[in-house]
Assembly symmetry: C2
Homo-oligomer: 93 residues x 2
């Protein structure tokens, strides 16, 4: 029972962070899809804010010992790659 | 052993959030102390960013079931009070 709770925190932390990362990924994809539309605003600030929020969640989870630092870096890293691809595509436009 | 881990997450979450809140409180106090100095910048953006970061950590801890929603609101609420007192003092200056 108690050990279930401990495992639950780890599993839940992973699930929550993954869900939050996916939300940001969706925002990035929407931006990507809108690149070809006229007058599409690039919500850079929104995305930056969301990324900062996620990085704080990840940092908190790492400090709690719920996820590994390397996992956190992987999660943020893949989003950062998508973001920079978006910025590049936007600059080329 | 396993139950110690579960308790540890809760205790650690509280300790981390309290420490992060205290860091912001110190930033606010430094700002307050500098109000009487000439050319003191009000680091509104820095404080806002830190507050947002903490609110994301608290929200994450609540979603994980590590702290109660009411506790999280109390923690943020007391900081928000200090912040608005700071803003008021700055406006009066």
């Amino acid at each position: 029972m108690a050990s279930e709770i401990a495992i639950d925190h780890r599993e839940k932390a992973h699930a929550l962070l993954k869900a939050d990362a996916e939300k940001i990924m969706k925002l990035i994809k929407v931006q990507m899809d809108n690149l070809t539309m006229p007058q599409c605003p690039l919500y850079e600030e929104v995305l930056d804010t969301q990324m900062f929020g996620l990085s704080r969640e990840i940092d908190f989870a790492v400090r709690l010992g719920l996820i590994e630092e390397s996992e956190g870096k992987l999660l943020l890293g893949s989003l950062e790659q998508e973001l920079s691809a978006l910025h590049e595509a936007f600059t080329r436009k």
